[in-house]
Structures are given as structure tokens and as C-alpha cells.
């Protein structure tokens, strides 16, 4: 008879995302592998399969003959409901075996608003939620990813965190586990040993002591574990593991194309940007390696599109050579080459025009702030002149579409800065009227504002997030200033960004809030159709906590919940940058001279951007 899953599949949306079986998925013999890993992405298949990190680590783990790593994604609401109704536990795509049968359960976490999905996935798996309630070596839960540099809100649920780049450390973890399993270690013994691997943070070994006002008094590590855990990096990207043989989804995903990383890190130092600091030091791949990997990926996947990804692609030193060579390969094969994150400088303008030969994409700018003064505060050194010149080039070349991204609520922002956003939009309209070669279809400016969220490991980690009411006042101030029909203005939901801020700088006490929120039905919070702010507010209240506490201005010498972690950039540097921001002083990019952030100490022989 048809099994339960196959009976449920016809009743849910997009069933292909629940069965695996894609080209190049990895299937091993259960009888011969010794360690089975359920690699969980705490959101939908379409998002998770678009994640480059997950693809790399899936490859890394499965390169180990004794290990079989399989994929698990969060079910959409309709599937979750059916699973609960029929008592069908969460399964891994490759074997369809229940997650609770796996040795290790790994999560890659990229977004605060996926925390509830982690809890929910553990619940749907039938695995005890609290780390303390999982007593054996079976079902060890670990996590990594860009959103685990402040691991504290998840500390109750995750046995250990793997901080930084996982190409090498993941192998060390799995080798240790293999040994622990063979020698029948206790969980405590295993976690003690894990804590000795550089980059591993075992929260149970750190006691957080609070003051009466709710701030941290101190963090006390147990004997024998590092006081501060420093993230791991891969020294030479050219030699780092990169899978050119990757799973090709049979159903459409968000980034349905091949993806290549030009470099890690960023020379720019925008003061709000967590990625810009957490991925330092700067390490590049050579054009030779990138070209080889690009061709191999494209031939292996059959993709007709490839993206070159990085935090700021114009800063890649070999960009001209690389794009030239790649275009020579792509054009005759009708492959699209896309290159996001280009800056608005001269070379990029020419490049942009050349890239459009295969396919015309839109123009996107992220000035982030409406006035030069505020752009100096955040150290985003894109100038109005650059934006307008690029627009003029593009409009005369036939473009009529511009996307503009800003933030509201940045430190020191005034109404003048907010109105500056509208003024910039009007200047772009004026440039279009003067330069557009094709005015028939009119100009369309998509302008959107996000609600600034201060993040750990940025100069703004001390900054307050303005209250939601004040954010909405500024939204309406801007909205009223935009009268042109060419501008479509969208703004981020206040409640969601408020919560994101509370979780981003949250402490260990938020574990109870997460748990309560999930009990009250919170999950898939990143999706409008599921985000339930009332459940969250209810959960905070039930735990006697207030999101506003985590959104306030933090004290200069305050103990941060994430003080046991280092991304390589010193607190002193962040503080200096924050003070410069307050004075409206910019910091030149790293190529104009090292600013001494400290991340170069992670590199072999102190190398950065070589």
C-alpha cells in the first residue's frame, strides 16, 4: 500500500521539495557509514537549497567515507499540519529516515527570524528540545552560520556551536564524533573534547550571571574551556574545498543558478554591516581557480545562469580579467552571467553595460542613508554624484528601472536625513528626464526602507534601535514627501525588525521566550503569511521580559552576551568606529591603509587582502 508520506504529498503545495531524488543528491549505504548527519536548514527547501554554505558543507561531510550527510528543511504550514495530524515525524530527504534516528543534527543559521524554525523542527522530529534533556551521544545538535556569532538565545537548545567557516572544522567535529561513538564516550566527555577544537563554543560550560537591572555581570567559563572562542577561517580559498558537483533541484528555488564566491570579507567597513566584519580577513580566489570552478559547475549542473557573489564585487582585484574570461565562455553557450553588489564607479558602469549583453537586469543602489552626512556616519562611501552619473549612463543606454535601498533609524538620523531620501529620488527623476533615450514606458523607481537593526560584532553593536512608533513616524514623513508616481515606496514591517533586533542582541534568557513563542504557534516568522507578532509579545510577557530592553543603547563597558565569542575584530576597534560614527568621521577602506581591526591576526602571518 502507498505509504503515509506519499498519501500526504498530493494534498500539499509543491510536494517535490519534500522527497529529494534530485540530480547529484548523495546516497550512501546505511550499513557501511558510521556517522549519520541530518543537516537542517531552518527554513523552506527553496531558501535552503539557495544557500552556498550549505552546499559546501554538504559536500565536505559527504567527502568523508564514514559519514553520510543528508538534508532536512522546514516544512511549509500545510505539510506541518498534515505531519502533526498523521504523527509523521520530520525526515531527511535522501533516505526518508526520521531525523531522530540520526547521530548528529546540524543547523545552519543565517537569520534571527528562523530561530523558531529550529525549535519547531526539533519538535517535529520528536527530539528533546533542551540540550540538557538529550543525554546520550545520539542526536547531538550543533549549529553554525552567520547568525550564531551571538549564540545565546539558542544556548538552551544547541549542544555546541561551530563558529566561522566550516570547511575544515566540520571534518574535525565529525572525526571526533566517529571516535567518541566507537569508544562509547558519554555526551559530557564528547562535549569536553569538542570544546578543545578551535572555534567550538559549548554554551553549557559558560555560566551567565546577571545584575539586577538585567544586564550581564559576568560570564564564567568552566575550567579547561577557552574564555573566548575565536571563529575559524580557511586560510587559502584557492585550496579550500569547493564542490563543483552540486545537487540540481528538480523544482525552482530562490537562487536557481550556479554561485561562485569571489572572495570573503570586505574592505569597506560599513558600520551597520555584520557580514562586513564577521567575514574578515579578506581572502580572494584567483581568476584561474574561479574560471575552472565556473566551467565545472556550469557543465555539471546544466545551469544557464551563474552569479559571482561577494560582499562588494567591484573590490575584487581580478574582476576585469575574470569577467572577460567568463563572458567569453558564457556568451556562445547562452549562459547569463550576473554580478550583484557592484559599486557605482566608472569601471563598474562599463562592466555593467557589457554584462547586459546576455540579459538586461535592473539597476540597484543601496545608499542606505539619504544625506552625505549620515552616509559618513555609517561609513557608506557611495556619493550622490556616483549614483547620479551611473543613472545617467544607464538611462541613456535604455534603462528605465532603478531600485534604491535605504535604512531608517540609523544612529544620529534626523528628519532632514529622512527627507534627503525623497530628494535623492527626485534628483534621479530629473536625471532621467534629461538623459533617458527611451521615455515611452516612463521611469520606475522602487524605493524601499528597512528598519535599522543593530547587530553584534559591528560598530553599532552598542546603538539603540529607535522605537517602532518613531520608525513609523519617519516612514510616514518620507511617504508624504514622495509625491511622484514614478516612485513606488515600500517599507519593512516594524514589528518584525523590532523582534529581529531583540533576538540579535539577545541573551540566554531569550531561550524561554523562543520556547514559549513556539508553543504559541510562532514559526516561519520570516514569512508574512505566518509571522504572528501577538504570539511573540505574549511570549515575552509570559517570561517577564521586554523586547525594548534588548533594543536600548548598550553601555560602553557593558558585558555583552556574545563576549565569549570573537570574530577576530577587536572590541576596541568597534568602539573607536562607533565614536567616529558619532562624530560623522569616515574610515577609509582597508586598501588605503590598514585600520587595525585585528582580523589580520587570524590570517597566516597576519596576511589580509594579499
Amino acid at each position: 500500500m502507498t505509504n503515509l508520506l506519499e498519501r500526504i504529498l498530493p494534498t500539499v503545495q509543491k510536494p517535490a521539495r519534500y522527497v529529494g531524488g534530485e540530480y547529484h543528491q548523495i546516497v550512501k549505504d546505511k550499513g557501511t557509514v558510521r556517522v549519520r548527519v541530518a543537516f537542517c536548514f531552518p527554513d523552506t527547501y527553496e531558501l535552503g537549497m539557495s544557500n552556498v554554505g550549505m552546499r559546501i558543507l554538504y559536500g565536505v561531510m559527504n567527502e568523508m567515507p564514514q559519514v553520510w550527510c543528508e538534508r532536512v528543511f522546514a516544512p511549509w504550514g500545510d505539510m506541518e499540519e498534515a505531519m502533526r495530524q498523521h504523527h509523521l515525524p520530520l525526515w531527511a530527504l535522501e533516505s526518508h529516515d526520521p531525523v531522530r534516528d540520526f547521530d548528529l543534527i546540524a543547523f545552519t543559521v543565517g537569520y534571527e527570524m528562523s530561530y523558531t524554525n529550529i525549535l519547531n523542527m526539533l519538535k517535529l522530529s520528536g527530539v528533546p528540545l533542551h540540550a540538557a534533556d538529550r543525554t546520550g551521544l545520539k542526536n547531538i545538535v550543533f549549529a553554525g552560520g552567520a547568525c550564531t556569532y551571538n549564540p545565546e538565545p539558542l544556548a538552551d537548545f544547541i549542544d555546541f556551536f561551530s563558529l566561522g567557516e566550516g570547511e575544515e572544522s566540520t571534518v574535525e567535529i565529525l572525526e571526533l564524533y566517529d571516535r567518541a561513538k566507537a569508544e562509547n564516550w558519554s555526551k559530557a566527555q564528547f562535549l569536553r573534547a569538542v570544546a578543545q577544537i578551535p572555534g567550538m563554543y559549548v554554551p553549557a560550560f559558560y555560566t551567565h550571571v546577571y545584575k539586577e537591572d538585567g544586564t550581564l555581570r559576568e560570564i564564567i567559563p568552566e575550567d579547561g574551556v577557552p574564555k573566548v572562542v575565536t571563529k575559524r577561517i580557511v586560510q587559502e580559498l584557492d585550496k579550500a574545498y569547493f564542490p563543483t558537483r552540486q545537487i540540481v533541484p528538480s523544482t525552482e528555488i530562490v537562487h536557481d543558478r550556479s554561485n561562485l564566491e569571489l572572495f570573503r570579507g570586505c574592505i569597506r567597513g560599513c558600520r551597520f554591516c555584520q557580514a562586513g566584519f564577521c567575514y574578515r580577513p579578506i581572502r580572494s580566489k584567483s581568476p584561474d581557480v574561479l574560471c575552472k570552478q565556473a566551467e565545472a559547475c556550469l557543465e555539471d549542473s546544466g545551469n544557464h545562469e551563474i552569479t559571482l557573489a561577494s560582499l562588494s564585487s567591484s573590490d575584487y582585484k581580478g574582476l576585469e580579467e575574470l569577467t572577460g574570461r567568463l563572458l567569453d565562455y558564457c556568451e556562445p553557450r547562452k549562459i547569463n552571467l550576473s554580478l550583484p553588489s557592484l559599486r557605482a564607479d566608472n569601471f563598474s558602469r562599463e562592466l555593467m553595460l557589457r554584462l547586459q549583453k546576455v540579459r538586461k537586469s535592473g539597476l540597484t543602489f543601496a545608499p542606505e542613508a539619504g544625506t552625505q552626512r549620515l552616509r559618513d556616519v555609517i561609513n557608506k562611501n557611495v556619493t550622490e554624484e556616483e549614483i547620479l552619473t551611473t543613472c545617467a549612463t544607464a538611462f541613456s543606454g535604455g534603462w528605465n528601472n532603478v531600485k534604491l535601498y535605504f535604512m531608517l533609524g540609523l544612529p544620529t538620523e534626523t528628519d532632514e536625513d529622512v527627507l534627503g531620501i525623497a530628494e535623492l529620488a527626485y534628483k534621479i527623476i530629473r536625471v532621467w528626464k534629461e538623459t533617458a533615450s527611451n521615455k515611452k514606458r516612463g521611469l520606475s523607481i522602487n524605493l524601499s526602507t528597512a528598519y535599522f537593526v543593530p547587530k553584534p560584532f559591528t560598530p553599532f553593536q552598542w546603538a539603540e534601535q529607535i522605537a517602532p512608533e518613531e520608525y513609523l513616524r519617519r516612514v510616514h514623513l518620507l511617504k508624504d514627501a514622495i509625491k511622484s508616481r514614478s516612485v513606488d515606496y515600500r517599507y519593512h514591517e516594524a514589528n518584525l525588525s523590532r523582534l529581529e533586533a531583540a533576538l540579535a542582541r539577545g541573551d540566554r534568557r531569550l531561550g524561554a521566550v523562543l520556547e514559549r513563542a513556539v508553543e504559541l504557534g510562532a514559526r516561519l516568522d520570516g514569512w508574512d503569511e505566518y509571522f504572528d507578532n501577538d504570539a511573540w509579545m505574549h511570549a515575552f510577557a509570559d517570561c517577564g521580559l521586554d523586547p525594548a530592553f534588548y533594543c536600548r543603547e548598550f553601555g560602553a563597558d557593558e558585558v555583552f552576551p556574545w563576549d565569549s565569542i570573537s570574530v577576530g575584530v577587536s572590541r576596541r576597534f568597534f568602539r573607536k568606529e562607533y565614536e567616529k560614527a558619532r562624530r560623522g568621521e569616515i574610515t577609509p577602506d582597508c586598501r588605503q591603509g590598514c585600520n587595525g581591526c585585528g582580523a589580520n591576526r587570524l590570517g597566516r602571518e597576519g596576511l589580509c587582502d594579499e
Binding site: R7, Y23, S301, G302
Partner: protein, 218 residues
């Protein structure tokens, strides 16, 4: 016209119509063949599936039309495509056909009815009788809403079999184009007219595509 006859079974049955086109577009590239691209603003590789297949339905008789820029050897194309396709999608034949797709008029399909507690007494005979009625009105749900259709004129032949204790099999020929009958509506007919024999689960497979003369269409 260049055509592929392929089957779609196992977990591949969950791949949707649009996604399946993407699967083939990539598989051709992986196999080392560049499909002819459409002109225009957004160029894309041209493939076309003869009869869209519902998600969840297995098939041994799917037809895909394609064009390449260069000449090719059918047997080699078949072999290389099969090495490049996901599990469950398999090319059976690569051929050139002068026939128009509109000559494909009927579909040989089978619907499996599963009864978890065993096939109820009398169901086999009862369903045989049901499908010999003069008319078989059912409610058809579509994006436009609910409408009443009589499926009987689109059902030239049907046989009820009992291959196992827990299963009945409806072996039917249905109209495939203008109008077409989704074989799963046979289950709706059971639910509507003889709810006592409603199965616990039903699934469908396409066995063969037919021309007006009752012979396989290629």
C-alpha cells in the same frame, strides 16, 4: 518534429509540469546538447510537453518536443540524457515524427483504488455498474470555480479489476484533448454516486497515449 518518449515515475512524479521543463532544459545542457533558443528579450531554450501531467501521476508515455541547433544521433542523445536526468525520469525513445500533436486524442490510464480494510464486498461489481450508467455528472473544481460536467461521453471504455485484496484497478481509456478527462475524476464519480465504495487513497498512472484509431501515438 523531434520528440522524446519518456517515463516519469517514483519520486519524480512530484515534479510539476513547469519544473519538468526546467529539468529537461538543464539535462540537455548536462548531456552536452544546446537546445534551440527562442529569440526576443528573454531568450530561453525551447522544449514543449505534449500533455501536461498532474503532479503525483505516474506515466510511461510522456512526449516532449525539442529542437537542437545541430544534427544529432538519436540513440546517443537518449543515452546521454538518461545519464543526466534525475532518478525517475527516463527517456525511452528519441525519434522524429511528422504527426501533429492534435492527432493524440485518447489516453490509456489506470487508477488504483486502495482500501485499507480490504475491498468492500460488492464494490467491484458495483463500480462496474456505476461506470455503465448513461450519464456520470461530477463536480469539477478549477481556478474558475465549481462546475458540473458529465464525464461519461469522455470515457470510451473502462474495466474494473481486483489485482489484490486491498486494491481495485480502474483500467480506462479517456479523452485526452478537446475535451480532456482527468482520470482522477473517476474517483470523484465514485465519491459522488457510490460513496460507500470510496477508497482510502487513490492514485493514477498514464499507460499510453493513443491516436483516434486506438493505436499508440508517437
Amino acid at each position: 518534429m523531434n520528440r522524446l518518449l519518456f517515463e516519469k515515475c517514483g519520486d519524480a512524479v512530484w515534479i510539476s509540469h513547469l519544473d519538468l521543463m526546467r529539468v529537461f532544459q538543464r539535462a540537455f545542457r548536462r548531456a552536452g546538447y544546446l537546445l534551440k533558443h527562442t529569440g526576443g528579450f528573454n531568450q530561453h531554450a525551447y522544449v514543449s510537453l505534449a500533455l501536461p501531467l498532474s503532479v503525483g501521476t505516474e506515466s510511461r508515455c510522456e512526449i516532449l518536443e525539442f529542437e537542437l541547433d545541430e544534427p544529432f544521433v538519436p540513440a546517443a542523445l537518449r543515452e546521454r540524457l538518461n545519464a543526466a536526468l534525475p532518478v525517475g525520469v527516463r527517456v525511452l525513445e528519441v525519434y522524429d515524427s511528422p504527426r501533429k500533436l492534435k492527432e493524440l486524442t485518447h489516453l490509456h490510464a489506470q487508477v488504483v483504488l486502495e482500501y485499507d480494510g480490504g475491498v468492500p464486498a460488492g464494490a467491484e461489481a458495483g463500480l462496474s455498474a456505476l461506470f455503465t450508467r448513461e450519464t456520470l455528472p461530477v463536480e469539477k473544481r478549477s481556478k474558475k470555480g465549481v462546475s458540473q460536467v458529465d464525464i461519461k461521453p469522455m470515457l470510451p471504455s473502462i474495466r474494473v479489476e481486483r489485482p489484490e485484496d486491498c486494491r481495485l484497478l480502474l483500467d480506462a481509456v479517456v479523452c485526452a484533448q478537446n475535451p480532456s478527462l482527468n482520470p482522477m475524476l473517476l474517483v470523484t464519480a465514485i465519491e459522488t454516486h457510490t460513496p460507500e465504495w470510496k477508497p482510502d487513497f487513490a492514485k493514477c498512472r498514464r499507460v499510453e497515449v493513443l491516436a483516434a484509431d486506438g493505436k499508440p501515438f508517437r
